[in-house]
Subunit: 608 residues, 2 copies
C-alpha cells in the first residue's frame, strides 16, 4: 500500500487568516505580483475611519476606477454627528449636547463610515479574484516550525518553514497540504494560532467591562437612532452605531455584577444571557424613549469582555509576522476595530514586496514592528482614557463633581486626529527622515499627505493629490518646482533635471529601467505658477514624460476646488521643495530642490 500523496506547494507569502487585516495584506501583495497561495479562512467589526477609507482608495486599480471607495461611500451608512444623552433628573436619559463626529478636519472624507465587515472583506476578495486569488475556507493550519539556520534566515529567497513546511488541513475533506513559504503572516485574530505557535506573548489586562452587542432594525421614538450617540443613564451606557440600510447596532454596557461571566473560564458566556435580556436592559437605560426590535428579528448579537493587550513582538526574525487582532485588542468605544489591523498589513505589504523583489534588505522589515507596535501601544492608552471618560458619571444636580458637557466635548474634539487615523505619525527611522522638515513646514514627515487639489497644466483638469499616490509600490517624488513663469525658477528646475538625470544619483541608481518609466519611482511636478502663465512645453522635458505628470497650483476654472496648495503645505512659492512619499502614502522625507545628495543618502539607507 502506498501512502496517499500529500500536495506540496512553494509560495512567497503564506497568509493565515482572511479577516480585514488578512485580505488587506493579501490584496496589496497580489496587486504587486507576489505569489500568495489561496488564503486560510478564520467577525463583526463595521466602522471605517477616514484614514482607512483613504488607504482603501489608494488600492483602487489605477485610481481611476473608484470601485471600492465608491461602493463604501454609496452603500455604507455615514456618521456625521455624535449626540450625548445623560441621566435625567426624573430617571432615564435626556439629551445633553450634539457635536460633529470627532475626526480630523484634514480628512479627505469627513465622516465615519459603517459597512459590515463581511462586505468590506468582500470588496478585497473581489479585487483579488480579478487577479486569480480566492480565499480558501474550512482550512486550518495544524503545524509550523521555522528554520533556525542563520544563512537561510538571512536569504529572502529561502523558504523559512522547516522541511516539513506549514501543514494545512481542510476540515471538510480532511485533505492535508504542505506549504513552503518565504514569509508567513498570521492575521488570525485575537486568539491567533500563529502567535501562539511562534511563542509570542501578549502584555496587558482583561478589563472588567462586559459589553453586549445587538444588531436589529429598530422601532423607536428615540430621535437620534440614525446618529452616532452615547446614552448614559444610572442603569448603564449604550453606544449607537447606525448601519447600512435600516440596521442599528447597539453596544450595551453590562453591569459589573452581571452573571454573564463563566467563573470557570473568566470569559463571557452567551448562554448566560439572551437578546431579550439585553433588550430589556436597553429599554431601562433609554427611558423615557421606546425601543423595540422591528418584527422581533435580531440580525446578530453577542456579549464579550474587553481585553486591552499588545503582543510583545510582531515578528520572528523578520520572516514570520503577526498583524491585526493577533497583535492588539481593545474596546469598541473608540471605533478602531478593524482599522488598526488594516493599517498593520498596509504598512507591512510593500516592505515585503521590496524584499522579495530584491530591492531592499530584510532589515527594512524591522520598521513594521517599530512603526505599528508603537501605534498599538498608543491605541491602548487612548482606549483606556477614552473608555473611562465615556463611562464616567456626568455632572448633574446630584453629582456636581461629574464630567461637565464642556469638559466632555473638549476631550471628544481633541481625540479626532487619533480616532480617525489621520494623525498617525511614524517616528524617525531609515524610512522616516525629518532633517529638512522646514522646506514644507505643514506637511509632516512621518504623516500622510494633506488633501489638496492641483490642476493639470495641459488639460486644466483638477486632480486630488491622493489620486496621484496609489499604493502600487512606487515611491512618489513630488517636485514642488517653484514658479515656472519666472526665469530664475525655470533655470533652477532645469538644474535639478540635469542632476536627477546623472547616473550616480538616486533616480537612475535605484530606479530600475529607463528614464520616465522608473519601476521604483514616480516623478510628479507641481509649479506654483497660475493657469495661462505657463506652457507645458516650457517645463523641462525631464518633468513631462507624459502630459499628466505636470501640475500647477491654482483654482480650477469654475473656482470650486484647488488653489493655495503651496501655502497649505508651507512651501515657498519660489524655493520649492522635493517631497518623498512612501508607497503606503506616508511622507518619508523632504529636501530642498538642490538636495539631491541628501536624497541619495536617504535611499541608500534601504534600497539595494
Amino acid at each position: 500500500m502506498s501512502r496517499p500523496t500529500v500536495k506540496e506547494s512553494h509560495v512567497d507569502v503564506l497568509i493565515i487568516g482572511a479577516g480585514p487585516s488578512g485580505v488587506m495584506g493579501a490584496n496589496a501583495l497580489i496587486q504587486a505580483g507576489v505569489n500568495v497561495p489561496e488564503g486560510v479562512m478564520a467577525g463583526q467589526a463595521d466602522g471605517l475611519q477616514p484614514r482607512t477609507l483613504e488607504i482603501m482608495h489608494s488600492y483602487d486599480p489605477t485610481m481611476t476606477e473608484t470601485t471600492m471607495t465608491e461602493t463604501l461611500l454609496t452603500k455604507g451608512a455615514t456618521l456625521r454627528k455624535t449626540t450625548f444623552y445623560t441621566p435625567s433628573a426624573t430617571g432615564g436619559i435626556e439629551k445633553t449636547f450634539t457635536s460633529s463626529i470627532s475626526i480630523s478636519p484634514n480628512a479627505r472624507w469627513n465622516f465615519g463610515l459603517i459597512y459590515r465587515q463581511g462586505a468590506i472583506e468582500g470588496l478585497f476578495r473581489k479585487a483579488m479574484a480579478e487577479k486569480g486569488l480566492r480565499v480558501k475556507h474550512d482550512t486550518v493550519p495544524t503545524a509550523m516550525e521555522l528554520v533556525q539556520n542563520s544563512s537561510d534566515l538571512q536569504d529572502p529567497k529561502a523558504y523559512v518553514s522547516k522541511a516539513s513546511g506549514v501543514t494545512l488541513k481542510n476540515l471538510v475533506s480532511g485533505e492535508v497540504e504542505i506549504v513552503h513559504a518565504k514569509f508567513v503572516l498570521g492575521s488570525d485574530g485575537a486568539h491567533s494560532w500563529v502567535r501562539k505557535t511562534l511563542g509570542i506573548d501578549v502584555e496587558g489586562d482583561t478589563t472588567d467591562a462586559i459589553w453586549g452587542v445587538l444588531d436589529f432594525v429598530p422601532d423607536t421614538d428615540y430621535p437620534d437612532f440614525r446618529m452616532h450617540t452615547f446614552a448614559q443613564s444610572h442603569d448603564g451606557t449604550i453606544m449607537f452605531i447606525p448601519r447600512e440600510g435600516d440596521l442599528l447596532r447597539l453596544y450595551i454596557q453590562q453591569k459589573a455584577d452581571s452573571d454573564i461571566i463563566d467563573p470557570a473560564t473568566g470569559r463571557a458566556d452567551k448562554d448566560r444571557t439572551s437578546p431579550e435580556k439585553i433588550l430589556a436592559q436597553t429599554q431601562k437605560i433609554l427611558k423615557p424613549y421606546r425601543m423595540e426590535i422591528k418584527d422581533g428579528e435580531v440580525d446578530w448579537w453577542t456579549v464579550y469582555v474587553i481585553g486591552q493587550r499588545v503582543a510583545t513582538k510582531y515578528s520572528i526574525n523578520e520572516r514570520a509576522f503577526i498583524a491585526g487582532d493577533a497583535c492588539h485588542t481593545h474596546s469598541p468605544k473608540a471605533g478602531q476595530g478593524m482599522n488598526a489591523g488594516m493599517g498593520d498589513t498596509h504598512n507591512l505589504a510593500w516592505k515585503m514586496v521590496y524584499v522579495l523583489r530584491g530591492w531592499s534588505p530584510l532589515s527594512i522589515l524591522e520598521t513594521y514592528e517599530s512603526e505599528r507596535r508603537k501605534f498599538a501601544q498608543d491605541l491602548i492608552e487612548f482606549d483606556k482614557r477614552w473608555s473611562k471618560l465615556v463611562s464616567d458619571k456626568r455632572s448633574t444636580g446630584s453629582n456636581p463633581e461629574g464630567v461637565t458637557p464642556e469638559q466632555f466635548i473638549g476631550a471628544f474634539k481633541s481625540v479626532g486626529g487619533f480616532v480617525s487615523g489621520i494623525g498617525i505619525r511614524y517616528a524617525p527611522s531609515t524610512l522616516v527622515n525629518a532633517s529638512h522638515q522646514v522646506v514644507a513646514a505643514n506637511l509632516i514627515v512621518g504623516e500622510r499627505v494633506l488633501p489638496q487639489v492641483f490642476i493639470r497644466v495641459a488639460s486644466a483638469e483638477p486632480v486630488h493629490i491622493h489620486d496621484l499616490l496609489p499604493a502600487e509600490t512606487r515611491f512618489k517624488i513630488l517636485v514642488f518646482a517653484g514658479d515656472l513663469s519666472v526665469h530664475d525658477d525655470r533655470t533652477k528646475l532645469q538644474t535639478l533635471a540635469n542632476e536627477l538625470n546623472k547616473a550616480e544619483n538616486f533616480l537612475r541608481r535605484y530606479g530600475r529601467v529607463e528614464v520616465g518609466k522608473w519601476e521604483v519611482f514616480d516623478v510628479i511636478s507641481f509649479t506654483s505658477a497660475k493657469q495661462d502663465t505657463v506652457n507645458l512645453f516650457e517645463i523641462p522635458e525631464f518633468f513631462r514624460p507624459h502630459w499628466t505628470k505636470a501640475l500647477l497650483d491654482d483654482e480650477e476654472v469654475q473656482g470650486q476646488s484647488g488653489g493655495g496648495g503651496y501655502a497649505k503645505y508651507g512651501i515657498d512659492l519660489h524655493a520649492g521643495a522635493i517631497v518623498v512619499v512612501r508607497p503606503d502614502g506616508y511622507i518619508g522625507t523632504m529636501a530642498p530642490l538642490d538636495g539631491v545628495a541628501f536624497l541619495n543618502s536617504y535611499f541608500a539607507g534601504f534600497l539595494l
Copy 2:
C-alpha cells in the same frame, strides 16, 4: 414540402436601432419592466453635455450605485477650458484667448465629458443585460406596415403593426422573424429606415460645409492639445476634442472648392481623400506648431457634409416614433451629437410606460413631439448661428471688420445654457403648468431642478436633490414644508397631510397602492428649519413613511455643502411650496401648500 416555420413574437415596444438614443430608450423601458425584444443593431459621437450626464445619472439603479456616471467621470476626458487661435500676421495661427468651457453655471457637473460612443452604449447595454436584454446584431428590418383601424389605433393594448408584423432579417444566418409590437421606435440614424418606411419627410438643407475627422495620438508642440480649442487660420478652421487616454479628435474644415464631394451623389466620398491629405491640411492650418500622428497610427477617420434638418413629424398616430438622428441632424461644432438623441428617448420612454401600464391615455404621447421637435428646431437655429460665428473671420490688422475676441467670447459665454442642455425648457402643455410659478420663483416650471444639497433630519447626512429624483417612473412630490421649528408652520403641514390623505385627492386617487408606498408618486419633504431645531418625530407621520424621506435646508456639519436651498429656489421660508417633478426630472408644476385642488386638476389632465 412544408414551408419553414418563421419565428413570431409579441412585444410591447420594438426598438429599431441601438445607437445612443436607442439604448437610452431601451434601458429606460426595460428598467420599468416593459417587454422590449432584443434590439436591432445599426457611429462615432463622443461628447456628453452636462445635462446628459445628469440624465444618465438618473438611471443609475437606486441612485446609490453610481456605476454609469462614475465610469464616465473617471474614465472619460473632461473639457474644462476652450482656447481660441486666430490667423497670425506671419501666417498660421496665434493664441487669442482662453475661456472656461461654455456651460451653464447651474450644471451639477461643470465640464464637457468625452468618452467614445461605443463605450457609452456599452454602459447601457451592461445595465440592460442585468435585466436580461441583449442587443441583437446583424439584424435589419425589411417590412413594416401599421394598422389603420381606428379602434386598434386607440387601444394601447392592440398590436399596431398589421397582421404581417414587422419583419426582421438576420443578415448572417438569413433567418427571418415577425415581431408584433404595440409601439415601434425607430432610432436608426440619419438615414433612418423607419422614418422612410413611415413616410415622414425631413425639412432643411445640406450645408456647403465639409468636415474631415481624424482620431489619433498626437506628437505635437501645440500647447493646448488637451483643451477644447478652435484654431482658425487663413487655410481653414480646426476644432480639437481631447479624448479618453491620449487620443485626440480633430474636426478639420475642408475647403469649399474641395473635390471630396462626389458630383453624382452630392455626398462626401472617403475614397477622394485620405488621412494623409487631411493631416497635411491640418499641419498647414496649425503653423507654426508641429502636429504629427504618433507611430503613424490613425484610430479612426471620416469626411462628411453637414446637413441641418428636422423631421416634419416625430410619430404616426402616437404608435410609431422616431428619435435621435432619425429626427434631426446638425454640425459637430456645438457638441450636441448624441446628447439630443438621448434626450429624445429619455423624454419618450416614461410616457410610453404610463400608457402601457394603463395609467395615462395615448394623448400623453403627443407631448413627445411637441417638446422634442421644438428643441430640435431651436438646435438647428443655434447651430447655424454658432457655426457661422466659429467660421467667421476674426478681427485682425488686415480685417478690422472681423469678429473681435470680445464679441466672440461674449457670444461663446451666452450659449452655455443651450449647449450644455441645462437650459432646456419645455413649453406649457398638459404636463407643464406654470400657473403657480411664483411659489418657487427660481425653479422654472418646464426646466430641470437646480442642483442643491439638503440634509437628512434623522442622520444629518447631506444628499444631492438629484439623487432623490431617479428616473424610475414616479412623479416626485417635493413638499417644501416651511419651518417646522415654528408652531404655525407645523400646523399648516399637518393640514396638508390631512388633505393629501383624503381619498378624493390626487395622491390616493391616482397613486395606486397604500399610503407611503405609492406606485405613481414619491413624497419627500424639506423643512427650512435648521439642524438641532427639529426632531424627526415632530414631523407629521404622513411625511416620514421612512426616515430618509424627511430633509432640512442647512449646511452639513463640516460646512462643506448644503444650506440656502430655499433662497436658491426662491421659496419663502414659512409659506413653503409643493413642487412636482416629472419622472424625467423636469418640473411639471408647482403649487402653494394649500394648493391640493390645483394639483388634482393638473394630474387629472393626464392620469387615469
